[in-house]
Symmetry: C2
């Protein structure tokens, strides 16, 4: 890269100096070591024994390589090996800590195997998501982890069928055809809903995320379960909103407040929506939890310090990320549990961490990680 303004170190004048000039190729190493390119390659790749390179030669080559700061071009290697060492990660919004954490776990988990993460941010738009997929496909990623915007999974399924392994996280789909990992949203939703119901709430407004997404459907299901168990029925008119955003939560809250003044509690399907709801309530001069109780999903460092700490169901995001990573790695046929001192990563540095203690049980294609309930002060007995 950047051909101009470097001296290429073909036959450097002062033997032994060899300050790093950027593109040091295998040929440079070979020449300097007085061997052929193939020998140099084998010496560096631990193939010495197999191809009977003498220990002396191997050592010499290694030394020259080190002196020259040789780094094998992954591009060339990729071409020859038909393996890019790249994994694409596409999320709706990387500045959302939830997705950032997932990206982080993937990045941390795969680098031990010499993979790097190509990041894509779809900005919650399906069209951009598709463009990103194409772009990453052209970059020859070996697998894709997608947290989809939430609609139209078809292009992902097609992609997977065409031979590019795709794993879906969080925003999984119904009638699933792709390996997916998500939280146990139904149980989680039921748990938070029951906090409300125990206190006597029956008129519960729901701030929904993308309606077609499985998380939204499943959380609604959990709420319905709880209602049913308590012997009442949830009117669909108490449902509003159609996105996992603050704006959606704000708008939906106002809508519900107008539509159902008798409402005593809010069930927010995500943190941004809860924030939006709190803004809306503040504008209407309503206090939490005295005028309105509220429950939500996911926690945050700030949460504890809030005026009214939210009662939430918290997902184990890192675990979700690690599970997704494990599934990804499994589909790539690299063994997450193998001791990583093997030559799998060749010249790349030794593993930074043991990738995942996750057991991929069974052959299901939908994995769920458990959640925990955090009861805090945002729920009270309904006023009247």
């Amino acid at each position: 890269m950047k051909p101009p303004n470097h001296r290429t170190p073909d036959t450097p004048p002062g033997f032994g100096s060899a300050t790093l000039a950027y593109p040091v190729t295998l040929k440079n190493v070979a020449d300097r070591a007085g061997v052929s390119v193939s020998t140099a390659s084998r010496a560096l790749n631990g193939q010495a024994r197999k191809y009977r390179i003498s220990p002396a030669t191997e050592k010499a080559v290694r030394k020259v390589a080190a002196d020259l700061g040789f780094q094998a071009s992954q591009v060339a290697r990729s071409l020859r090996l038909k393996r890019s060492g790249l994994i694409g990660v596409i999320v709706p919004d990387i500045s959302n800590p939830f997705f950032a954490s997932i990206a982080r776990e993937v990045s941390l988990g795969v680098e031990a195997f010499g993979f790097s993460v190509l990041l894509g941010d779809s900005r919650e738009e399906t069209e951009i998501e598709q463009r990103l997929v194409e772009q990453l496909r052209a970059k020859q990623v070996e697998a894709l982890l997608v947290c989809p915007v939430g609609v139209d999974p078809d292009h992902l399924v097609k992609l997977d069928r065409s031979g590019l392994p795709v794993v879906v996280a969080d925003r999984v789909f119904d009638g699933i055809e792709l390996p997916s990992v998500t939280s146990d949203n139904r149980t989680a939703a039921r748990a938070v809903a029951e906090v409300l119901i125990e206190q006597g709430h029956r008129k519960i407004g729901v701030l929904s995320g993308v309606r077609d997404s499985l998380p939204a459907k499943t959380r609604l299901q959990g709420l319905t379960d709880a209602a049913q168990h308590a012997g009442f029925h949830l009117d669909p008119s108490y449902l509003a909103g159609n996105a996992f955003t603050e704006q959606s939560g704000y708008d939906a809250t106002l809508t519900l407040l107008d539509r159902h003044p008798e409402m005593t509690a809010i069930f927010a399907m995500c943190t941004p929506a809860a924030i939006g709801a709190m803004r809306a309530l503040a504008e209407r001069g309503m206090a939490i939890p005295s005028d309105m109780s509220i429950v939500a999903f996911d926690d945050h460092p700030f949460a504890e310090l809030m005026k009214t700490p939210l009662t939430v169901s918290v997902q184990d995001i890192p675990r979700l990320g690690r599970l997704a990573t494990a599934v990804l790695l499994k589909r790539l046929n690299v063994n997450p549990s193998t001791d990583s001192s093997t030559e799998s990563s060749r010249q790349t540095l030794p593993p930074l961490s043991t990738p995942a203690e996750i057991e991929i049980q069974s052959s299901t294609s939908l994995w769920k990680v458990p959640t925990t309930l955090l009861r805090r002060s945002s729920v009270a007995v309904p006023r009247q």
Copy 2:
């Protein structure tokens, strides 16, 4: 990639079917169109005019390519062109929204030019940062945006000297040798400090980030400026902490509380530290702002809803990210301001956004973006 279990479409039997088999090469397209590989390449790359490919041929090739779903292998192209189309982004913690936002802006800003972002998370450790740099170098990234852990910039400087453009953001260094972009921390710090001083605070504890980092030094400088202007002197013993983390803020607060019971205000150099401080104060049973005033940096959606919304100086993070991206692109000799309908990105999709309205003024290598002050309720007149 993934050679097995696809039919290669060399000469597909049913003409016209051509469902996507994964590796469709240029040769396949050429064969099917009845031309040579070189002609196919030129037809697809808009070189038709220059190399006198007949419009008919060009059209035919394009059609075949479309039918086959041809995507040029970026790996092969990279090898030939000596351009990977990859940009490395290394941050200390991608799950921190601050860095996530920066990564996001870079990703958004460069994709219009056909670049993709390779993400690295250094986990606030210099050693890992260095490993990531090596890994990304091997992947042939064309440039690197680093938010360093904060110490030992030497390897970055060396890298840049060796021909790989490096841009530093946020955690810039003193005696700078690399293009850097950061906020105007001195002014920002002075502004928040003055909020404290105006109310009469003089015994101000400082929760510092990494001492050697320029942000920490500069923010301290801003505080010192304000103190000096108000005619008093800040005792170094009021300084504690040495990291941009919650833990550091917590520990430092306890330390200062013990060391200086007369302290009436806290100047936290980052949000995590402020959170740590609030935890510590809560444990000691101290209320904000009645028992202790506090100011900090950076805002957050949650901030408004906190028990005591913090008075903070907020950085324009997206702008910072965009500026960094612009500097990056400039160093890569792609023109951020050019209308992007040029053939710069070839077969890659049309630009998703106008990359940056940023004016890169002058040839300075340190750029600063302005900040704004948010006065909220975390500051009061000192008790006694």
